[in-house]
Symmetry: C2
Subunit: 218 residues, 2 copies
DNA sequence: ATTAATATTTAGACAAATCTAAATATTTGT
DNA sequence: ACAAATATTTAGATTTGTCTAAATATTAAT
């Protein structure tokens, strides 16, 4: 598989939302930042190679084999992202571009050794699950912090309210995107939460919780 | 610079023996496992881009700028090799092929963070020196262990005598290719050596030393 | 100093990945 | 159901990196 073919396979995979849905030529073109005509050519090639099912004007989805290729790429991409954050102190939002390159390195031994070095992580710095060597993984969903049950652990991936006061609050309480948050307790009376972030316990109001997105794998 | 261009630049660099000597079209073709006609085309392109000086029928060498590019690639290649051995427990002879891919990853921050993670290593697992961020490095020479002065440290890179008894001796004494050897003391009387390998001190005869190649940076 | 051998370049072709412009198919709105 | 809008494919061109075969230059040998 060439680098380009691999990126197209990943695009089809991601656009299919992990469900291997059929995706359109234009969708792929937008994702890949190429023209629809280029996509058509590539879809024919991927079909030839047996990694995609493409029907003229009808769209494209991955074959069983194509799905395996996609999952291997996703696995490598996310493992490298963990590596960059955990071992090289990259920030949450600096890793994607480099991982986009590293995911194409061909060495099964490298991937598996990296997995081991990192302690077989389950999720990447964006809270997305990392497929295991044989392609299994849990799906991630994004939920507001006030909607998850006590005991849930997830990655902080966004805010609903992006006003200055709210962001200032998060900063003051050392809550940042990419942090792992564990819900310890929920107060019946006012819906306030007792959570753990970066090893520290803090309490937050229902209002705060209602504006923080968590990515959780179930 | 494309991946292909980068590999050609490295080829010119290595064939020039670090001296930026002029190298011939056929030499480059052999090194790159391509045909001379392909090399001619690429040399024209590299000249256009200002990284090489090419004169028809006369050969090619790197420009100042090309040399910088080459040294950056060598730096990345060797840092990745150290990473693979030190952090992922790859064997001495498994790293080159993967490093050949990893050296093309474009991220200065990645390279420098990796350097730091590894503790700013001076040599790669083959005993070859690693250029610093600004392109400086010492040259390596290969010498027989019995020819280096006391106090010298180097990487074991080969044997002169490859007979079974000799290899068995090395195995018994836990000396392997890729090991760092430090010469602690030399016995005047018989030329026998007191050396340190993998933290252990051992004594070896002049005959043994005369059949072990060490790569040292001066 | 010719000739033979070797090295190098040129010419022309090809596959991969992309593009633009034109043609065709599908979908949507009335 | 038809026209208009949108989506998709086809045709033809371009760039990059490669190749083979033929032409030319350099070097070595007599
Ligand atoms: Mn990513
Ligand atoms: Mn990629
Ligand atoms: Mn190497
Ligand atoms: Mn390479």
């Amino acid at each position: 598989m060439t680098l380009s073919e691999e990126d197209y396979i990943k695009a089809i995979y991601h656009l299919g939302k992990g469900e291997n849905n059929i995706v359109s030529t234009n969708e792929v073109a937008e994702q890949m930042k190429t023209k629809p005509s280029s996509v058509t050519d590539m879809m024919k090639k991927l079909s030839e190679k047996g990694v995609a099912n493409y029907r003229k004007y009808k769209g494209v989805c991955l074959t069983e084999h194509g799905l395996k290729v996609a999952l291997t790429l996703v696995r490598k991409h996310r493992l490298w992202e963990v590596f960059l954050v955990e071992k090289l102190n990259f920030a949450w939002d600096e890793v994607h571009e480099v991982a986009e390159q590293l995911e194409h390195i061909k060495s099964e031994k490298l991937t598996d050794s990296l997995d081991k070095l990192l302690g077989f992580p389950q999720v990447d710095p964006h809270g997305d699950p990392i497929p295991s060597k044989n392609g299994e993984f849990k799906k991630a969903v994004k939920k507001l912090l006030n909607e998850v049950p006590v005991g849930t652990s997830g990655t902080c991936v966004g805010v609903k309210d992006s006003s200055a006061p709210f962001l200032k609050f998060l900063d003051k309480n050392r809550i940042a995107l990419g942090d792992t948050i564990l819900v310890l307790e929920k107060e019946e009376f006012d819906g306030s939460l007792h959570i753990q972030v970066k090893g520290k316990d803090i309490r937050i109001s229902d209002q705060i919780a209602a504006n923080l997105y968590l990515k959780i794998t179930e």
